[in-house]
């Protein structure tokens, strides 16, 4: 009896593996087909630019630098004559960055964002420290909802922005209390 049961269970195992043999693989064949990254994916940190002027949104407030748990962000933004900060240097070392997304949450100016991009292997360690321009370049094609308060929306981009704001209401909502608290 025991033998019969054992054989039955051994065959059951074969049946299960055999069953899978006929099924289609779940594999995503990476270089040819790619997994569509969810928009919240924290692939890489980028700097966002203004949609119209093309200039960096960053105001050099250093909030992200202070929020970074691994101190991967280095900003040099001295105050100019007009008492405003001008971003001179904005380096992120991706060899230190822990991709936690705290910088994105700290930012009040839609300047820094985690973008769903991931292909950045290099042969040289120094290439992993990205400067302002590279970060900006990477952020060019990142779509975002401009929630900065100082901007007065012009009629033209407002129409374009509408569908974008509909797609990610969930993302905007939790950001709202965050901004308030940072203004304290």
């Amino acid at each position: 009896m025991g033998l019969y049961k054992d054989i039955k269970n051994l065959l059951l195992g074969m049946k299960i593996t055999g069953k899978h043999l006929g099924r289609h693989a779940v594999t995503i064949q990476y270089p040819e087909e790619k997994w569509t990254m969810p928009e919240r994916s924290r692939g890489i940190v980028v700097l966002l630019s203004d949609k119209e002027t093309g200039e960096l949104n960053c105001t050099g407030c250093l909030l992200c630098m202070r929020a970074c748990p691994s101190a991967a962000i280095r900003i040099d933004a001295p105050r100019g004559e007009d008492k405003k900060r001008h971003v001179k240097k904005f380096d992120i070392n991706f060899g230190i960055c822990c991709f936690c997304g705290l910088c994105e949450e700290a930012c009040n100016f839609c300047a820094i964002r985690m973008a769903p991009k991931y292909e950045f292997s290099t042969e040289n360690k120094d290439d992993l420290t990205w400067d302002m321009h590279k970060l900006q370049e990477m952020g060019r094609d990142v779509d975002y909802v401009d929630t900065r308060k100082k901007k007065i929306p012009k009629p033209k981009p407002a129409i374009e922005e509408k569908p974008a704001s509909e797609t990610k209401p969930a993302e905007v909502k939790p950001d709202t209390p965050k901004q308030e608290e940072n203004n304290d």
Binding site: L62, M65, R66, C68, A71
Partner: protein, 156 residues
């Protein structure tokens, strides 16, 4: 036992041996004298009302003023929990090993010995646990510890 019952019970049964501290936020936190540790711990474990048979956690704390050894104990049958600590000074801190009471303390004590430099008396095996075998730079978890290649987080 509920928290208040536990407090009352300990107050009546451990007079003068366990001092309630204010720092405990949720569970009661007591202080035990270093030389009284084993006896109190044994009693905590063996008392039929308490039955603290489970050592959750223990470790050293450096508060910049003194060293402490914290013990978090629980009971798997009575489902209550308790914290206590032993307060030590900076010069030659030492505490009795509580492995005879809770054998699970073994590695925690080894870890404490190497990271905080708190000597464990009557512990039979104080080999380094976490640090490299050839470590000679002192006790890194102390607040004033420093080493040539130790990079502090920049104040931003």
């Amino acid at each position: 036992m509920t928290r208040d019952e536990l407090k009352a019970y300990i107050e009546s049964n451990f007079v003068g041996r366990m001092t309630l501290l204010e720092s405990g936020k949720v569970e009661p936190m007591y202080e035990i004298k270093a030389d009284d540790l084993i006896e109190v711990a044994t009693k905590l474990r063996d008392d039929l009302e308490l039955k603290f048979d489970f050592l959750c956690n223990m470790g050293g704390v450096d508060t910049r003023e003194r060293l402490e050894v914290i013990y978090n104990i629980a009971s798997t049958s009575k489902l209550h929990r308790l914290d206590f600590k032993v307060i030590l000074g900076y010069d030659s801190p030492a505490v009795e090993s509580i492995c005879p009471v809770w054998p699970g303390a073994n590695w925690y004590e080894r870890e404490m010995y190497e990271l905080y430099g708190i000597d464990i008396l009557n512990h039979n095996d104080l080999r380094p646990l976490l640090l490299p075998e050839d470590w000679d730079q002192g006790h890194p978890m102390r607040k004033d510890w420093d080493a040539p290649d130790f990079v502090r987080m920049p104040e931003l």
